[in-house]
Symmetry: C2
Amino acid sequence: MRIGPSQEEVRRQNLGALLRYVHIHGPTSRAELTSELGLNRSTIGALTADLAGAGLVTEAAPRETGRAGRPSLVVRPESSRVYAYAFSIEVDQIRAARVGLGGQVLDLRVDERPHGLAATDAVPLLAEFVKELHHSVPDDALYVGSGVSVCRMMRRDDGLPRLTFTTEQIAAPLSAALATELGVERPVVAGNAGDVAALAEHARGTAVGCDNVIYLHRDAGVDAGIIVGGRRLSGHAGQGGQVGHMVVQPNGRPCSCGSRGCWETEIGEYALLKAAGRDPSTRTAGMLTVVDAASRGDASAQAAVRQVGDWLGFGVANLVNVFNPEMVIFGGTLRELYLAAAAQVRSRLNSMALPAARERVRLRTPQLGEDAALIGAAELAFEQLLADPLST
Amino acid sequence: MRIGPSQEEVRRQNLGALLRYVHIHGPTSRAELTSELGLNRSTIGALTADLAGAGLVTEAAPRETGRAGRPSLVVRPESSRVYAYAFSIEVDQIRAARVGLGGQVLDLRVDERPHGLAATDAVPLLAEFVKELHHSVPDDALYVGSGVSVCRMMRRDDGLPRLTFTTEQIAAPLSAALATELGVERPVVAGNAGDVAALAEHARGTAVGCDNVIYLHRDAGVDAGIIVGGRRLSGHAGQGGQVGHMVVQPNGRPCSCGSRGCWETEIGEYALLKAAGRDPSTRTAGMLTVVDAASRGDASAQAAVRQVGDWLGFGVANLVNVFNPEMVIFGGTLRELYLAAAAQVRSRLNSMALPAARERVRLRTPQLGEDAALIGAAELAFEQLLADPLST
């Protein structure tokens, strides 16, 4: 039941709206804030003063504009002072970054993820990264919290990936480890890799302004970050978006989940390498070799790309019928497969998706590259600050 | 960009929250409203006075409680005075009702929908219904607007259903026809049959309190009303939820949409009747005969129900992996198929959906029965009133 907010809540919402604006759009003049936020000049002035007093923004005269009249002051996020830690636990690597307000990656550490290492066991390694990163943090800097992107797959000792569900089990131990390391307790928010990448592309990448987005993310499996009406689809128990386990081929290849013909097995590296007559144990590197060979005219590689690309389009068409999205983004190693097989994907979309559902959908690759997971994880952390800027 | 509301907006939100509460929950004491809405007693008193002044609620002493002390006044929605018109354009019939605030069907008209009649051509027939219904409306009654549930299928002259997309094209001509008939202009909101039924079950049926719901609706095709995080999934162009056209069987039966192996063809009446060795032109009546025969032990009918029920479970499992819903509801003629084949559906769910995605999902049939479309359509109309109670 939705109840109207108090005066204090109104002020908090306005502070959050202003801080979010400069966090997303960068330095902004007071004049632009006035028109974009629909608040009057004196309110913008008062809100800016509050945020500056808390050390979250600075105000300064703009560079020479060449125009007559007193120029509007420019409000900047304190990107070098206000920061979050962002983590990414992937199938084959773990990463940690210090990310400033405004989304700038200030510092970064990357390492391999050992085979057989459960996501929860990565926590001490991430804490070690933070210890290193923390050496270069200025004394007056403000730590606001952390976000972590967790892949739902782990690599077993035999090299094969396995499905695990640890997203929710990461936040509490990581929060405790960071509190010990940093001497201050701040929230840690965990999200699935697909969700987090979708958040990043929605905030700062190719999906800015799109309210209905499907971000397909392939690491070892295929996950989706789905945005419906501007909000993340998380599902009843945080397990939504497992599009890789939609069955597209009844009685198809066995999948690690125990089912058969799951979408992620039909568009996977193994399927592509088998179709191209190559060694399926070469995995991602082998997949890229096939895509490369296809681009240089190798007939068997081209046939394999067409076959797997057809299955890629098959699943996309089903999702388009269900969601009627504005944009589908091909992330992780799906980027290369999509670029090589865009014609097959489009063809399946045209033959399988209803015209009304597909006619305005745009197919895209990510704009943010490898940093998307860290940028998205930082967004999870900043969400707390933006909801109530003066509480931190 | 979300900005804090003004004092006037706060009052509007509170008025809407109070009116929504009695609209959904029925007569409620001031004491309960105070605790449920988190507002103090004097605010509840003032809001109630405003709503009573506008003729939307009444206040009265409750029946004898047997307890000591002054009893809390009870606030009731003015169900017989404040009403909406609700319409449902289905494949084989059209319906119109006058629905009172609080969701009571006060009066009702039903007729067959002639074959070949486009949904837009049903508008004059609905206006004729309204003319009849309007005779019995008290002089002081308040008409707040209309809602219409539109099935995306029409029956052709040859008796076969065909996919059309007219939802958005209904609201404007219906609004104009009603303005002529009633002499007053009020908004008309149109929704897909699945969406509208989902809204009804979410507000007043089996899905009350569930924020992640998939309502599967079969009329001639299969549509879904999907609720994600408490809000309807509509998609970028209002075309979301076309789950009937997910392809589940590559190279399966041809579908009227031009594709093959769509879910709705594999779980359709035609598929069931063919599998049972019966005349497929008997459609819904024939389907019910097969379900009935299966329940009485007919082996070929049982085999057909198992086969089609298996495909029903197949699609449900895929949707559960994608959405991680709390509840799946089997509406329209899927109700009978689900009840006959619940074991197959559950078996597919267990073998194909990931444990984490499926473990808390509840499978249900609708609670509201045939009236769901009209009750949901009325909810579409009342949404306007509840958003700003004193503007009407």
